[in-house]
């Protein structure tokens, strides 16, 4: 039950990637979550076709995989931006106004309705669960899509929120 996964560096094609995954974890239903975590690491979301291949190879129905994937917050089924800005909606943050900071950030990026990611795939803004930095509420955590960079920003106001997402978007566009 070893779950401290290594990041696979070499470029594999999709099918080989899934085969390697199955080889590493076995056709083991209980290893589904670590396997999905690895898919996340590689694609930053769970692409439908990859899940289908995985479903065939480990003989677990696709519906069941989707069920697990939607239950846990960590998994996503849609592509994400270069930087993911997560705004804490935990108690301390919510009571100190994180919802308004969130709306201000979305407004600054022109995100409306169900949209969480900008069309240029630079930024994703989403509500999130407590990060345990509640004493600096309201808090936002910014992670790069590959999970390698991680920044936490505390005591945000709506106008700082706007500045923050603009900064990361500019950075993302430079890097893309």
């Amino acid at each position: 039950m070893e779950c401290e996964f290594e990041r696979s560096r070499e470029r594999l094609d999709d099918d080989t990637f899934v085969s390697e995954l199955v080889k590493k974890y076995g056709k083991d239903r209980s290893m589904l979550i670590p396997m999905l975590q690895e898919v996340m690491l590689r694609y930053h979301y769970l692409p439908r076709d990859i899940l289908e291949t995985l479903s065939e190879k480990i003989e677990v129905p696709i519906a069941e995989i989707i069920n697990v994937a939607t239950f846990y917050h960590q998994f996503r089924l849609e592509p994400v931006g270069r930087y993911i800005v997560s705004i804490c909606f935990g108690t301390a943050c919510y009571l100190l106004g994180s919802a308004i900071v969130y709306e201000a950030m979305r407004d600054a990026m022109g995100l409306k309705g169900d949209k969480h990611t900008t069309d240029d795939l630079a930024i994703t803004i989403e509500p999130a669960r407590c990060f345990g930095c509640c004493s600096l509420a309201p808090v936002a955590m910014v992670t790069s899509a590959d999970g390698k960079e991680r920044y936490v920003h505390g005591k945000l106001t709506p106008s700082e929120g706007r500045k923050l997402v603009r900064k990361y978007r500019a950075q993302a566009l430079k890097e893309m």
């Binding site: 039950m1 070893e2 779950c3 401290e4 083991d28 239903r29 209980s30 290893m31 589904l32 979550i33 999905l36 975590q37 069920n67 697990v68 239950f71 846990y72 917050h73 960590q74 998994f75 804490c88 909606f89 935990g90 108690t91 301390a92 943050c93 919510y94 009571l95 100190l96 308004i100 709306e103 201000a104 407004d107 999130a128 669960r129 407590c130 990060f131 345990g132 930095c133 509640c134 004493s135 600096l136 509420a137 808090v139 955590m141 991680r150 936490v152 920003h153 505390g154 709506p158 106008s159 706007r162």
Partner: protein, 612 residues
């Protein structure tokens, strides 16, 4: 409790070079910009040409002084500087220079005084420390969390040695004597669970460290694991020995990555030193630990859901059988909270008597509490069980923020309740809190002031539980949704007086019929606010008025003409065309047309829109 500075601690404080600068690298201080502070300190010691060593530590729980540094040079008192400006490198250099010259006037406090050196007061004399008893959190902010040597130097792993010299029954007996009860929420006597598991006959048994900490507003487990992870690992090994386990699992939630990294590193170091693996410390005890990252769902913190998550399923199951009998992979399993395990290690290091100096008749020792929300000094405070809410919130955390009035405290998160300010002399222990409709939970206290609305708080928590319910049982799935909808209606000014009764009835039936404690305690926030803050509900229902001006549909938006510069941003964004005004002149909202969506307040770059 004053910090006893023995020779070992002294060595750790000043380091081998006799000059150490402590820099806290933990999630909270990182958020406060400590990386820039570190860069500035590195540059400063280089340009000043001083022989100081940069020493990474965890967080001492005083989040309100983040980012802080501590400068300790042999011959001078170790001095703590709070709220260091990360963007002012020259100031940081000046602080170090002054310190070296013996001028400590800018320091917030010193760890201890040194004869002949003028210095500010000692840390333990400061209000936020005075009433604390730092039993499990003793090393937080003092030692390098990534160094097993430093942990050992403070007495670490001596508890494990002691435990391994005892029989399993004796270890359990020792924990029984300590009156240690689980710090993860329910307050279950630790020895009882261990004993049940110990008595099972099985060649494989598991012990699990529950580091899922999903209660929003609680972060003592994160802080402890990031600052002193070996204490948790040592506790888990002792637990493993006591019940006769072969394997340990540390389960950490995805939102707390640094906590997971530090614990994984500690496990690896413990293995290298022979505290894990085969024949630990020359005994016939074999035991190893793996770390597991949760994919992040609140219900995963619940025992059976946590086990399901490790097994790759996603739901809670009915108890009994209890995990101690039939748990992970069907084998006897115990789960303990991070802080519980850290207490175990500390009890074995310092003795049961030391632990029993604190606590109540039924519960031994201390507990870490997170105080956040509307207080001056947010942070983590470790106090004896049975300390009053007032002491924690006013004496330690400094009371209300400037210009605000505290009206309640939310204790125990989504399963807990709100306690009004009139009852702040209530003691923080398992039984007393329950009696008042709250729970101890993991020890998160969110302080609520009069700018926060109690109906909104109840609505917030039901929304949280609704999103987190695994959906298996009807009362939780449907009942909580109903609660949430009714509260939503009240927030919009469409509530009826009968709704209050309905809330109470639904709440009670959910409590009686839910499968796991997530549903079973979900109505607590609603029922406790109904009990103590009925007037706020009535105000919403009868007068269509939100006293705290939080419920959007019940407030009126106005533009402050003194601040508005007439940029027109709100005018362009208003979906109802309810704003008028000429460019560069102050704008106005026409109340009759306004939809109360609040959009103008969100878009206004000058912050000119307010609520009445």
């Amino acid at each position: 409790m004053s910090l006893k500075i023995d020779e070992k601690t002294r060595k750790i404080i000043y380091g081998p070079k006799g000059f150490r600068i402590r820099i806290p690298i933990a999630s909270c201080s990182l958020a406060a910009g400590v990386n820039s502070v570190r860069d500035a300190v590195v540059n400063a010691i280089e340009s000043l040409g001083v022989e100081a060593e940069i020493y990474r530590v965890g967080c001492m729980g005083q989040c309100f002084i983040d980012p802080w540094i501590e400068i300790a040079k042999e011959g001078l008192p170790p001095a703590i500087y709070g709220n260091v400006d990360p963007n002012n490198a020259s100031k940081i250099k000046e602080i170090i220079q002054n310190y070296v010259n013996g001028d400590l006037s800018e320091a917030m406090a010193v760890r201890f005084k040194v004869d002949g050196v003028k210095s500010p007061q000692e840390l333990t004399e400061l209000d936020p420390w005075k009433y604390q008893v730092r039993f499990v959190s003793r090393n937080c902010g003092l030692i390098d969390p990534e160094s097993i040597e430093d942990y050992i130097a403070t007495g670490g792993y001596s508890g494990l040695k002691r435990a391994l010299e005892m029989k399993r029954e004796e270890v359990i007996e020792e924990i029984k004597r300590s009156k240690l009860r689980g710090r993860g929420g329910a307050g279950f006597p630790t020895w009882l669970k261990w004993n049940l598991c110990y008595q099972q006959k099985s060649d494989v048994k598991y012990v699990i460290c529950n580091g899922d900490e999903g209660d929003p507003g609680a972060f003592m487990n994160r802080l402890l694991s990031e600052s002193d992870p070996h204490r948790v690992v040592e506790g888990l090994i002792i637990a493993g020995y006591a019940v006769g386990a072969t394997n340990g699992v540390i389960f950490v939630r995805a939102e707390k990555p640094l906590m997971a990294e530090r614990l994984a590193k500690a496990v690896q170091q413990a293995r290298e030193k022979g505290f894990l693996g085969k024949n630990i410390l020359g005994t016939d005890f074999n035991f190893d630990i793996v770390t597991y990252r949760s994919a992040g769902a609140f219900v995963c913190g619940e025992e059976t859901a946590l086990i399901a998550a490790i097994e790759g399923r996603s739901r809670s199951r009915q108890r009994p059988p209890y995990p101690a009998v039939k748990g992970l992979w069907g084998k006897p399993t115990i789960l303990n909270n991070v802080e519980t395990l850290a207490h175990v290690a500390t009890i074995f290091q310092f003795g049961v008597e030391e632990f029993l100096k604190y606590g109540t008749e039924r519960t031994g020792g201390t507990k870490m509490f997170c105080v956040t929300g509307s207080v001056k000094r947010t942070g983590v405070y470790e106090v004896p069980i049975g300390t009053t809410i007032r002491r924690l919130i006013y004496d330690l955390a400094g009371g209300a923020k400037e210009g605000k009035n505290i009206k309640a405290v939310q204790a125990g998160g989504p399963s807990g309740g709100c306690i009004p300010v009139e009852l702040f002399d209530v003691q923080l222990d398992f039984e007393t809190l329950q009696q008042y409709g709250a729970i101890m939970g993991s020890g998160g206290l969110v302080v609520i002031d009069d700018s926060m609305c109690m109906v909104d708080v109840a609505h917030f928590f039901t929304g949280f539980t609704l999103a987190e319910s695994c959906g298996k049982c009807l009362p939780c799935r449907v009942g909580v949704k109903l609660l949430n909808q009714i509260l939503g209606k009240i927030k919009e000014g469409e509530g009826k007086i009968e709704d209050l009764e309905t809330l109470q009835e639904i709440g009670e039936s959910i409590m009686k019929t839910s499968l796991c404690a997530l549903g079973g305690t979900a109505p607590n926030p609603v029922i406790s606010t109904l009990k103590y803050f009925k007037h706020e509900y009535l105000e919403h229902i009868e007068r269509k008025h939100c006293p705290a001006k939080v419920c959007q549909k019940l407030v009126t938006y106005v533009i402050n003409p003194g601040i508005c510069n007439g940029c027109g941003t709100c005018l362009r964004s208003c979906p109802a065309g309810a704003i008028e005004g000429k460019p560069r002149d102050a704008h106005k909202i026409i109340a009759e047309k306004c939809l109360r969506c609040g959009q103008c307040m969100i878009v206004c770059p000058a912050g000119a829109v307010g609520k009445v």
